[in-house]
């Protein structure tokens, strides 16, 4: 990985996260724990190939989210995000 064009958008997280969450969270706003930039998960830079994905902040390249779909379980590491805002109908 040269960090150049070896990534796709956070849209590519949608399938794996839809296995975990009942709503689409790629449109949810996440705040980067390192630089504070806030934007949709869809705007993160996703490296790797499903089932193991690493999503980095487009502003500072810190890891915001990791997800790994293993046999019988999904591992979701959100420690790089300080906050996640999901719009929901009332």
């Amino acid at each position: 990985m040269d960090g150049g064009t070896e990534f796709v958008d956070g849209n590519a997280l949608a399938g794996t996260l839809a296995e975990v969450f009942a709503v689409d969270v790629t449109a949810a706003l996440a705040r980067c724990g390192s630089c504070g930039e806030t934007g949709p998960l869809a705007g993160l830079r996703v490296y790797g190939r499903a089932p193991g994905l690493v999503a980095r902040c487009p502003g500072c390249e810190s890891v915001v989210l990791r997800v790994n779909r293993g046999p019988g379980a999904a591992w979701l590491d959100l420690r790089g995000a300080t906050c996640l805002r999901v719009d929901l109908p009332d």
Binding site: D9, N11, A14, G15, T26, L41, A42
Partner: protein
């Protein structure tokens, strides 16, 4: 698995290839029957999973190319010569064969016919797939939202959906950028997309268009930068990088 899905939570389903269209010598549209398909928005995608006899699995995302017709959905796959999955989907899968799929997914890179903003679509290569899905959704909804499409391709023969896009359509303007070979008598030499192409083929930033950019990662980077430099609000520039 079929029938056991909990609503809201996504699971893999088995789709069947029922029809196929050769778009170019290296790209094919697959018409897949997915029992119980819930419908989708233009711009959403599916994940496709292949499993080898030894259990090895490979998974890739493919944009939905058109509004669903009942249980029938379309994806268009561009073959990468050294690719793991795309050559099989373009040349290996036969009518009647099953393939595992999950979706529709993605709620960000989507266009809704109720959005009145003018729309700018900028496509590089197979990145045109979800953007043509938006053109088709516009047509199907019968709305007059003005659309512009800037489509960058290597050569005239690489254009996907060429016949459909050649037909004049009120409110849809298309401009082409050729990167390797142009049609005969084309006014510009082959070149990579630049500011003048996006400027003349797009909308002025003051019109506040919804911009959708899709294609290889390097292409999307460049176009997104150009749009922002031309004054478009970064929040109105939605991107879908295909990799590469």
């Amino acid at each position: 698995m079929a029938g056991t899905a909990v609503p809201g939570r996504l699971t893999w389903r088995v789709a069947t290839l029922v029809d196929a269209v050769e778009e170019t010598p290296t790209a094919r549209t697959l018409v897949l029957e997915v029992p119980g398909w819930p419908g989708h928005l233009a711009g959403q995608h599916v994940d496709v999973r292949l499993t080898a006899e030894d259990g090895y699995r490979a998974q890739r995302s493919y944009s939905l190319a058109a509004p669903a017709k009942g249980d029938l959905v379309r994806i268009t796959v561009q073959e990468l010569a050294d690719g793991e999955v795309s050559p099989y989907l373009v040349r290996g899968l036969s009518i009647g064969d099953p393939v595992e799929l999950r979706g529709p997914v993605g709620g960000w890179f989507v266009w809704r016919p109720t959005d009145p903003s003018p729309v700018l679509l900028v496509a590089g290569g197979s990145g045109v797939v979800p953007l043509v899905a938006m053109v088709r959704a516009r047509r199907e909804a019968g709305v007059r939202t003005p659309f512009r499409l800037v489509y960058s391709v290597r050569s005239p023969g690489d254009r996907l959906y060429a016949d459909e896009l050649n037909r004049p359509e009120p409110g849809l303007d298309i401009s082409y950028v050729y990167t390797r070979t142009t049609p005969e008598g084309w006014p510009a030499p082959p070149h990579r997309i630049g500011v003048p192409d996006v400027n003349s083929g797009g909308w002025p930033a003051e019109f506040e268009p919804a911009c959708f950019v899709c294609g290889p990662t390097g292409f999307v980077e460049k176009v997104a930068d150009i749009l922002v430099a031309l004054g478009h609000d970064p929040r109105r520039v939605r991107t879908e990088r295909f990799g590469g």
